[in-house]
Each structure stands twice: as C-alpha cells, then as structure tokens.
C-alpha cells in the first residue's frame, strides 16, 4: 500500500517540473503594425552629406520594434535628397539645398519625415579620438565631425573618404559598411585622414607592441593524488593573436593553499584532499584552472627497510654501509602508498648517518663509522611525522644469500640479495655493500657497480646452459671478509615465449597502491618478469605508476574511471583494465 502511495507521489514530483519557461527567440510578425514613427539625429543636414533614419513600428499598441530594414524608403524630391545606399536602405543622401519629405512604408502603414538640406559648406573636419595609441592587433573606430559655415556640426564618418598614410602600420576602412574602422598591423605611427568635399582632417595613430590580453592555464593532470606534484603551463595570447609560453614569468597562486601550494615555474605540491583553483597572472591579466586532489589526507607514516624486518629498537645498520628505506603513508581514506619521495628525511646526528635521494622513490640511508651508537631518523610531511631510532654497529656476524637457486630465461633479470646478521641479531640488506661475482659469466652475470648501489646483485641471464651459473658475494668489515655459507645457483634456459600475462594483487582504489605482476609463459617454464617489463598507463587522471623505474608494476589509483595498463616485455605487449571506483 505504502509503496503505491510513494510511487504516486514520485510520479507527481517527476512531472511537476515540466512546462516551457525558456526565453523565446522568435519575433512576433503576426500582430498588426498600426503605425510607424521616423526618427533621426537631426532634421537638417548640409548638402552632400547623409543621415541615417530609424523607423520604429507600433504593433497594435502592444510593443514597438525597429523596422528600419523592413520598410520601403522613398523621397518626394529625389533631386534634394534620396535613398541611394543599397547596403544601408535607411540612409538618405542630400544633394542640393531644399526640403524633401521622406516616407517609410510597410504594407498599408506609412510615416513621413521632413528633411531640410542646407546650403552650408564645410569649414573643418575633425577626427576623434585624437592621436590615439593602440596595441598591435587592436582596433579603433574613428569619427569624423564636420564644422560648417553655419556653425553647425555634423557626423561625417560615413560621408568622408578615409586613408591611412602607412597601411603597413594600420589600415582604416573606407568601405560603406565600416567607414573609419582602423586595425593596427605593426608597431609605428601612421596618419589617418578623413576628407569631405575637399576638406581634410587628420590624426596620428600610434601602434605599440602587442599587449597581453588573456592567459590560459593548463595541466595534463587535473586530478592528482595528495602528496604529489602537478605541473601547470601558462600561455598568453596577445592583441595581435600571437601566443607565448609565460610559465616562467607569471605569478602563480592557489586559491586553497591547504589543498595545494604552487611555486614559480608552475609546479604545484598537493597537500590534502580537496579542490583548488590554480591561477597565473601577469600585468593585470590572469587565467586559472582547477586542480582536484584525491587519495585522502595523510594521517601516519611508517619507515621500513625492504626485505628486512626491523628490530624492536628500530633500525640497526652496519657501520659504513648503505641501505634503502621506504616511507609508507597511511591516509584518511584507509589506503596506504609509498611516499618515500614526498617526505622530508632527517637524521639527528649526521655524523652517524646521512640520507641520499638519487631519483624517484629511492632513498638511501648511509651509515658512517660506529660512534655514539644511537641517533634518530625522522620522516615528515607537514604536521605528520614518524621517528625511528637508528643504531650503527660495527659488528657483523654472518651473511647469507636470499636465494639458493634461481631460474632465469635468457635476456631476463632477477634480484639476489645478501642479508647480513648484525651483532645485535637484527638483519640488514647488505646487497649495496657486497662485492658480487659471477663464477660463470658465460651463463649469467651480476651487477657490481659501486656507483649504482640500487642495482647491485641484479642477475642477468646470458646464455642457456645445462650447468647453473654460480653467483657469490662477499662483505668486508674491519679487514674481515664474510662469505655466505652457500652461493646462489642460477639456471638459465632459452625457451619459446608463448605469452605474457598480467595480474594484480587487489582492486585499485583512489590513493591505494597495488602490485601488478607480469609473468612470461614459456614452454614448460614461467618467470616473473615484472622488473623487465616496461609499464605504462594511458589515463593519469584515473591511475598512475607509483615509480616506473624503481617500483615496476606498482599502480596507484587516482580518481574514478577506467584506464589501460600496458606491460611490454620484449616484443610482446599485454594490456589490463584498471578500474578505480
């Protein structure tokens, strides 16, 4: 019963809004024209001049309308004055002194206007505005005013002949439809002359450099995550229609600084979820565009070391070693993501350890010589921060390979790590500090470049072989060299690639970081090739790659929509749909 009642009410509400209340665009040509009134600026003009008349129709007393272009104009004395301007039918031209009765007729309705043509002759012609300055590309409408022998003045803009002394600087129209209309072409001066019946008036028009008229602000990423950056571009359009990139010249501002701040150069840093307007201004001209920040507000930060579980007392590092650390943010929407490059890293005692950030989401903590053993490391963003104790120890107990064996396809790569057990029993990834060696270079190689600590231990499959390649590593501390109990055996095969598949660990929501894995399917063999795959996403407003170089396969949702994630492995490309609700 109640459902039917509500259905009925809903129906009523739905239809109650109907009914046309828009603005009409059709003219009323049905109501009868009952009278016409002719008006003009004056009823007396000099011979050889002209006058524009207006015919206003009264439609049954209900409304009035300008019907100047609908009536038929005529003169009872064409020798005195007649209508001879086809493009402006309501303009009457005076020939000789006298009186003419002018008539406007539409259907059965007509009106008359008595025009007197005087014998006054022209004394002077004056052009206004006098000596104007306009910017290149701008326009100006000049008016010629004649002073006659009977001390009357009359607008001669239509009746004069207009000339520009230098049309390359500015042109002035002598076309009946636009007499006196000037257009600035190039910088410089030109003399504008209006001549009527042998008498001229002049003025100097000066054209200056084009002025900025508008600024357009654009960005390729109008929707971004909090704690990220967005670049904006400002392009100015000038009075001569030219455009110029003004990104480095304009003053940038954000209407909601709590949502995003912006610095010179147009790079905005997003601080919290919300929306703001990004503006660029220069010389009194401004433009703006909107920026939407998603992904929640930062509520907490956690410092972790990849591949290692931190001890109860915080971080312990071996003296004179380097390890990679990650800052993971927790946000108000319940999501987490890597914010390593967004936070500020601070070590309280920099003689004990320092922080380096080579690129992207890559941060290294560099432990110095063991001294006063404990300091703190802090990761902070705005008012949110976390601090961890950092202990530097001189003692290494042992090292071990992360994997005893590895299967690789020719041309692919995988990671081996050296995990050290420190004096206090905690562990540390010492891959960046180990000395890596492949005992079977023909089969597999291992990276060992001290200048590229992030890639130390990266194994490459070179040639297929029946016998596995042996990869080993050693760490030297205080003159003592530590070797793992067991080296890593790397078996390299060469099979036909059948397909590449992409899979994700979970649904991608706004602000959440999700891992996608690329798996190469060979005959009788599969391999995780996430690190060897080139990843790309087509719509950055929907989802982005967390860090294409240092976090392969990691995707972060930005805003609701659907994007295509493409994984290219060799010559094989595979696409997956990323849906952000």
């Amino acid at each position: 019963m109640i459902n039917l009642v509500w259905s009925g009410l809903l129906l009523l509400l739905l239809v109650s809004g109907c009914g046309f209340n828009g603005t009409p665009t059709r003219k009323n040509d049905l109501t009868s024209l009952t009278s016409i009134k002719i008006t003009a600026g004056t009823s007396t003009i000099a011979a050889k001049t002209s006058l524009k008349l207006t015919a206003t129709g009264d439609f049954s007393g209900l409304f009035h309308d300008d019907i100047s272009d609908q009536v038929v104009w005529s003169s009872d004395t064409p020798t005195v004055a007649e209508f001879i301007t086809p493009t402006i039918p309501s303009r009457v031209t005076a020939h000789i002194p006298g009186i003419a009765t002018l008539t406007a007729t539409k259907g059965n309705v007509s009106a008359t206007f008595k025009l007197t043509v005087s014998a006054a002759t022209i004394n002077t012609v004056t052009i206004t505005p006098a000596n104007p300055t306009i910017a290149k590309g701008q326009t100006s409408q000049f008016v010629a005013t004649g002073t006659f022998s009977d001390y009357t003045t009359q607008d001669l803009t239509f009746d004069a002949d207009w000339v520009s002394s230098d049309p390359t600087v500015a042109t002035v129209s002598n076309d009946p439809a636009s007499k006196g209309f000037a257009q600035a072409i190039a910088v410089g001066p030109t003399t504008i002359t209006a001549t009527f019946d042998g008498t001229s008036g002049t003025t100097t028009l000066t054209v200056v450099a084009a002025v900025l008229q508008s600024i357009k602000v654009t960005t390729t990423t109008p929707t971004v995550l909090s704690l990220s950056t967005a670049s904006f571009t400002a392009v100015g359009t000038f009075s001569d229609t030219t455009t110029q990139d003004l990104t480095g010249q304009v003053a940038w501002s954000s209407s909601s600084p709590g949502v995003a701040s912006i610095v010179a150069g147009g790079v905005a840093t997003t601080l919290a979820q919300g929306a703001t307007s990004i503006s660029a201004s220069l010389s009194g001209v401004s433009g703006s565009t909107n920026l939407v920040v998603t992904g929640g507000n930062l509520t907490g930060i956690a410092i972790t070391e990849p591949n290692v579980t931190l001890g109860a007392n915080g971080i312990t590092m071996l003296a004179n070693t380097t390890s990679r650390f990650i800052a993971t943010g927790t946000f108000s929407t319940g999501v987490t993501r890597d914010i390593t490059d967004a936070v500020t890293w601070t070590v309280a005692n920099t003689s004990l350890a320092t922080v380096t950030s080579p690129v992207g989401k890559l941060v290294f903590l560099n432990a110095g010589a063991a001294g006063p053993p404990t300091t703190t490391i802090k990761a902070s963003f705005g008012n949110v921060s976390t601090t961890s104790n950092l202990t530097v120890t001189p003692t290494l107990q042992s090292i071990a390979m992360s994997l005893a064996s590895l299967n690789l396809h020719v041309g692919t790569h995988a990671r081996l790590r050296v995990i050290g057990t420190l004096g206090d029993g905690t562990t540390q990834d010492l891959s960046a500090n180990a000395d890596w060696t492949s005992k079977t270079l023909a089969t597999a190689t291992v990276e060992n470049n001290p200048a590229d600590p992030a890639n130390k231990g990266r194994v490459s499959g070179v040639n297929a072989a029946a016998t596995p390649a042996v990869i080993t590593a050693s760490v030297t501390v205080g003159g003592t060299t530590f070797n793992p109990l067991q080296d890593a055996n790397v078996t390299v095969t060469n099979q036909t690639l059948q397909s590449v598949t992409i899979s994700s660990s979970s649904a991608v929501t706004s602000g959440n970081q999700v891992s996608f894995t690329a798996t190469a399917n060979y005959v009788g063999f599969t391999q995780n090739v996430t690190d060897d795959t080139t990843w790309s996403i087509d719509l950055a407003n929907v989802a982005i790659l967390a860090d294409a170089v240092n976090l392969p396969g990691q995707v972060v949702g930005v805003s609701g929509g659907t994007a295509i994630l493409t994984a290219t492995f060799g010559s094989n490309s595979q696409a997956a749909t990323v849906r952000v609700p």
């Binding site: 039917l4 665009t25 009323n28």
Partner: protein, 216 residues
Amino acid sequence: MKRTCQILIALCLPLLFCGPVRAQHTGPYVGAFVGGDMLMTSKGSDNQGTFSLSYNPSLLGSAVLGWDFEPNNPVGEGRIELEYTHRSNQLDKVKFVQGEVKGSGNVIADSLLVNFFGVFHDRGPWAPYVGVGVGAARIQASDLKVTGQPLSSDSSVVLAFQAGTGIDYALNTYLNLDLGYRFFGCVPPKLAEANGSKFKMEYYSHNVILGLRVGF
C-alpha cells in the same frame, strides 16, 4: 435546470444504499469521467525561432472500457482499459521576443489510449492504483490567433502517453468511484501556420478526474 438537477439526484440516490465493501469485481467494466485539465505552457518552434503558448484550464470528459483482473492473478492485481478522452483548452497568451500578447482559439486533444493499472486491494473499500497508458491523440489547433491574427488551424495525429495514479472507492462489487490524477503528453505535433510554414508544439497536461466505473 430544475429537471436536470432532479435527474442527477435520482441517479445518485442508489449510492445512498451502497455500503463500503471490498471491491472484488472480475471481468469487463465501463466508466465515465469528468475532470479538470491544466494544459502546461508549451514551447512552439518554427524556422524563425521559439515561442511559448499558455492556456486556460478547462474541463475534460472521458469514457473507458476495460477488464478487471481476477484476484491473485499471476500477472498481478489490476486492470486494463481502453480510454477515450476529449480535452479542449483555450489559448490565453503567446510570448515572443518582443513580449507576451493575447491569444485566442483552442487546442483540442482527442486521445485513445490503452491503460494498464496496478491496483492494491486491501480489506477495506479503498484501493489505490498506479499505471501508464499509451496510444494516439489527434491534436487540433482550432482557429488559433495571436492578437486577432491567424496563427494556425490544423491538426495532427501523434503518439500519446500518460501516467496515472488515483484511488478507487468500491461502492459495491460492481460500482467503483474513481478519483485520479493523470499526466498526459504526446509527441510534439507538427502543425501548419497561417503563413504556410510549419511549427512544432509541445503538449503536456495535468488532469484530475472523478468518475464511476460499472462492472458487468
């Protein structure tokens, strides 16, 4: 007038003997309705632009022939009917760019619809219903004028539809009083103007009706 009143009173007398009962009629019925019809301000458009036409409310008359479904019908509780309705609204004002002016003439709509109503039967005599109808309508511009000047005298048959809701009151098993609301509309008809060009005109109306349905 006096005789008409007497006849009306005589027709209504049997109602005094009707007690409110649960209406469980199944089968055919006929009905007659009268009501008020408010034709909404409509948008007219031709090759010169758009204008609006507003109308005076009017009365409407309607006749129906239908079938009440049996209780617990697998299709659902309700009825299906064929409805003929006549509406005629006087053109009041027409608005153009220059403003609003007086109009005259009538817009007449004769519609034939097939209605489907879902009815909620309770133990008591009241039974609300809601439904839709679809069919055709002949929309006639009858001597439409603007400030006395001819606008259109033409007609067109178009697809029509309506949505309705209301409440039945069962006087007895065979007699039902029906108070309802109908929203009626149609595809904008194209009508000829006096000057030879064509114009399209919206037609949507709100209607309140009161009638009697008799089952047999």
